[in-house]
Amino acid sequence: MESRTHISVQNLSVYFDDQQILKDVSIDIPDHRITAIIGPSGCGKTTLLKSLNRLLDPLDGVRVSGRVLVDGIDIYDPGTEVTEVRKKMGLLSQRPQALPMSIFDNVAYGPRLHNRFDKTRLGDIVEYHLRLAGLWEEVKDRLNEPAARLSVGQQQRLCLARGLAVAPEIILGDEPTSALDPQSSQNVERRLIDLKQDYTVVVVTHILRQAKRIADYIAFLYLGELVEHGPAAEVFANPRDPRTRAYLTGVIS
């Protein structure tokens, strides 16, 4: 197999019961870039994102055809260990979901599961990733407090730190700023831009301006179909498909 990007989606179709949510989607997601998946609500953006780390598994009546290759391995192959797939990706959800434990334990959750670190180093690991997520200064004196006491914006950065602590290669964001105030949104966006040096970032967003601010690469979904994808500057300046143009100019939403 030729050298590919971290994530390569090939002819992916997803059905919920009888409804086809994704229609034959194929895209190579560029490494060390921020890829934004855009499109009107209900077009399958979140489904595409969740299909990348097999979070669709637990839902009922989901049928998947086609392949998603992560580092050359088909994650939907029955022989693939799902926890290994998920370890490669940190997920930011629409509303930050802190785990019911302390701030420290939230970040240490992944490393403890995967036994990556001995106990003495755990503290360093937690500090390192909290710094990476830009949260350390705000929480360094209250690591043992419940994570639920943080503000929503802080919780989202905590989730980022928690995801990074599993040492992933990829960061997935499902409208990661939709529950945040403008200040916190900006903070998270800045983090993502910093992190693309070392990680491949895929973000679902329904905010066009956000996509323009942060994305290097754009994938436009419409009614389950990948209509157009390409470098952000190109897609925004010169959309090839009339549907993309219509969406970008606000005719369809």
Binding site: N53, P58, T83, R86, M89, Q97, P100, M101
Partner: protein, 292 residues
Amino acid sequence: MNQPGSARRLRRRKSKEMIFRAMMAFSLLIVIGCLVLIIGTIIWKGLPAMNLSMITQTPKGGYYLGKEGGILNAIVGSLYLASGATILAILFSLPVVLYINIYARRNSKLASLTRFSLDVLWGIPSIVYGAFGFIIMIFFGLKSSLLAGILAVGLLEFPIMSRAADEVVRMVPRELLEASFSLGATRLETALRVVVRQCLPGLLTAVLIAFGRGIGDAASVLFTAGFTDRIPTSLLQPAATLPLAIFFQLGTPFPEVQQRAYASAAILTVLILLISLLARGLGKRYTRHIIK
């Protein structure tokens, strides 16, 4: 707008509101009244018979005729039995509840069948559990013993605990599970490290409800645990229980022994109250991390 019509309508709506409020107040009064009456009766009738030897001594010869002694055998027996049964029920409930909520698919037929079975089991009268336990005992050649009692009461507690816990675990948001999954946790790790922690107060309530039912039940232990004046020292010895102690003392023709039955009821009530308070106090320490 027809002014008189709308005014009449408003009056009618207001009177409906008043009638319903009156009904609520009445029901509340009945419920609280009953509670006060029950506890009042127990204390009123039991207090004269209450003394330290009630809770520090086992029955001496002729206790049921009004001679001295206490019901320590039944207190200890009940605690042994209900604790054993509750632990047994937890061992079976937790896997069932975690399975139907975290492992099974959301519209799983197996999960709905399980819930239905648990509801049916919940509705079975405890005397049936006792009789069933008795048949099993005979089959295995067991005599009435603490062990047989624990099995029967454990069976009685199991559906109660499972259904109560199920209702709590069902409320865990899907996203919380996904957060744990996305960090590479398996379902079991997610269940034990996240779900159990998140649901701890609710699970504790489920355990307490089941414990309360177990320690207060007379019919299921009648054939299975037997009754004895001694404190059991092994699982294979029979064990006395408070509900049966109350039953036997109330059944005597002697007023002073009947009084002791009420004192025993008071002891049982206080025991359940203390254990609930203790468990809730302990549980409080673990609730601070819960995600709302």
